[in-house]
């Protein structure tokens, strides 16, 4: 079993979901990470959203072992691979990380899992970075290629669009999300994308 990790040390943990609308948002984000993990045959996947005021990225959803304790953890928004993705607005794919002792040490202290490969893409809505989608240890067939980079970026874009539909004014800051029909629309959007990407749609 694996534990999803980020390449920067978390600075703190805090509850993330309080309002009723947050439950819908969490459902959406959990769907995003579950689908991302399935698409890439990955060990784990996570979504971090940006808290601009605190200048931190916050784990909001995790698929894979560790989701119970990583959600809510924070780390500096400008640091590490996720930080580079958030600030540059560009996706990134790295491999052979486990041979990097520096990377290992920064990770192992808190999560006891060191990925060998990591893919990350920004969640961008209307030119605004909402956060970062990470995929850890994708299957060897689904890493390091330009096509996989494109695929991850496309999926992250779709996820950001769904997030915007669900919570148009506060996608990244925990505002009250939409319920009912619009929430269903957003989830159906993701479901159809998953079927498309799996070639079963």
């Amino acid at each position: 079993m694996t534990t999803p990790r980020t390449d920067a040390m978390p600075t703190s943990a805090s509850p993330s979901f309080h309002a009723p609308g947050d439950a819908a948002r969490h459902e959406l984000l959990q769907s995003v990470v579950d689908v991302a993990r399935a698409i890439f045959g990955a060990a784990a996947s996570s979504v971090c959203l940006l808290d601009e005021e605190a200048d931190e990225l916050v784990f909001q959803a995790v698929s894979g072992e560790g989701e119970a304790f990583l959600v809510g953890r924070r780390f500096p928004a400008g640091r590490g691979i996720a930080g580079w993705v958030a600030t540059s607005g560009e996706p990134m794919v790295v491999d052979d990380l486990s041979r990097n002792t520096s990377f290992d040490r920064s990770l192992a202290e808190s999560t006891e899992y060191v990925p060998d490969a990591l893919m990350a893409a920004p969640l961008i809505s209307e030119s605004r970075v909402l956060g970062v989608l990470e995929v850890l240890d994708p299957s060897p067939q689904a890493r390091s290629g330009v096509r996989e980079l494109d695929l991850l970026a496309m999926f992250a874009r779709q996820a950001a669009a769904a997030l915007r539909v669900l919570a148009p004014h506060a996608a990244a800051t925990g505002g009250r999300g939409l319920e009912g029909e619009r929430r269903e629309d957003a989830l159906q959007l993701l479901g159809s994308l998953e079927r498309l990407l799996r070639g079963t749609g």
């Binding site: 607005g89 560009e90 996706p91 990134m92 790295v94 002792t101 330009v146």
Partner: protein, 293 residues
């Protein structure tokens, strides 16, 4: 503003037209060819100053070698003032180190300088990037590697002016195309050398006959230096760009008087997909073979 109607004293002000002067008044010393018609020596980047505008560069990485100077752009959260200061903080992410390593691998004897524009605060990233690039152009580096772009259109006019200023000042900006099909800058401008990835395993570059991206370099599964003195593999236009920046450094070390447009032509002529084929027949039925020219 330039002078109008009265001519411009050589070396002063803008030159809107050449009045009262002839070719002898505006001599341009060009690079000499190799002596005796012999092949030129291997160009290694020696004497060429390359600036990496990115997340910083790790100091003492064996695959990067010496970093001549390291700078960071800082924005004061209170006053909003943006300054460029010396730093020894290295790299906040690894991305800049990767770019520097590719440049070193391609042009082993070039000077590498770093200005960090990422890794401080998330907010204000666009302004910090602008300030770092502006600073690099003002320092008159020969080559600036920019494996970054901004999607914010409000920065486009200033970036455009800055790119033109670099072009005329013989600072070559080598800029990554965005990895996703979105509008971003400054790679879209003709005054920079824009780079995307190809999927070949070989270290070669290609000219794109359908710009705006003008050149492609190796950007898939590239082995690069990373934090902690180690090496990883990665993918993206970010890593094709420093390969082309390194090529620019090599060409400039052999031909230091080259202008930006000559350099772009050198890349075009040396691209793996550019060949001199017979011209197609003209309307008059005349066919010429460029290979003899």
């Amino acid at each position: 503003m330039g002078t109008v109607g009265t001519g411009t004293v050589p070396g002063q002000g803008l030159t809107w037209s050449l009045r009262g002067r002839g070719p002898d008044d505006v001599p341009v010393p060009a690079d000499e060819g190799p002596p005796g018609g012999l092949p030129a020596r291997q160009a290694t980047g020696r004497g060429v100053r390359v600036c990496v505008v990115d997340s910083g560069v790790e100091l003492d990485h064996p695959l990067v070698g010496p970093v001549e100077s390291s700078w960071v752009v800082v924005k004061d959260p209170e006053s909003g003032a943006v300054t460029v200061e010396p730093t020894d903080t290295g790299d906040t992410c690894g991305h800049g180190t990767a770019c520097a390593g590719i440049i070193r691998r391609t042009a082993p004897d070039c000077e590498i300088h770093s200005v960090r524009v990422l890794g401080e605060r998330f907010s204000g990233t666009g302004e910090v990037l602008m300030a770092g690039l502006r600073w690099a152009v003002e320092q008159r580096f020969d080559v600036v590697n920019l494996s970054l772009s901004t999607t914010r259109a409000r920065f486009a006019p200033e970036l455009h002016g800055l790119a033109d200023r670099a072009y005329f000042g013989r600072t070559v900006i080598v800029a990554s195309a965005h990895n996703t099909p979105v509008e971003s800058y400054p790679w879209r401008f003709a005054s920079v050398i824009s780079v995307g990835s190809h999927q070949e395993d070989d270290e070669l570059h290609l000219y794109n006959p359908q710009p705006p991206v003008e050149f492609f370099g190796p950007g898939q599964n590239v082995s690069v230096p990373w934090l902690g003195g180690r090496t990883i593999r990665t993918t993206g236009n970010s890593f094709a760009t420093p390969y082309v920046a390194g090529l620019c450094a090599r060409v400039l070390s052999g031909h230091p008087r080259m202008t930006a447009f000559q350099l772009k032509n050198a890349l075009y002529l040396s691209a793996a997909n550019v060949h001199a084929d017979p011209r197609p027949s003209t309307a008059a039925g005349d066919t010429r073979d460029d290979s003899e020219n």
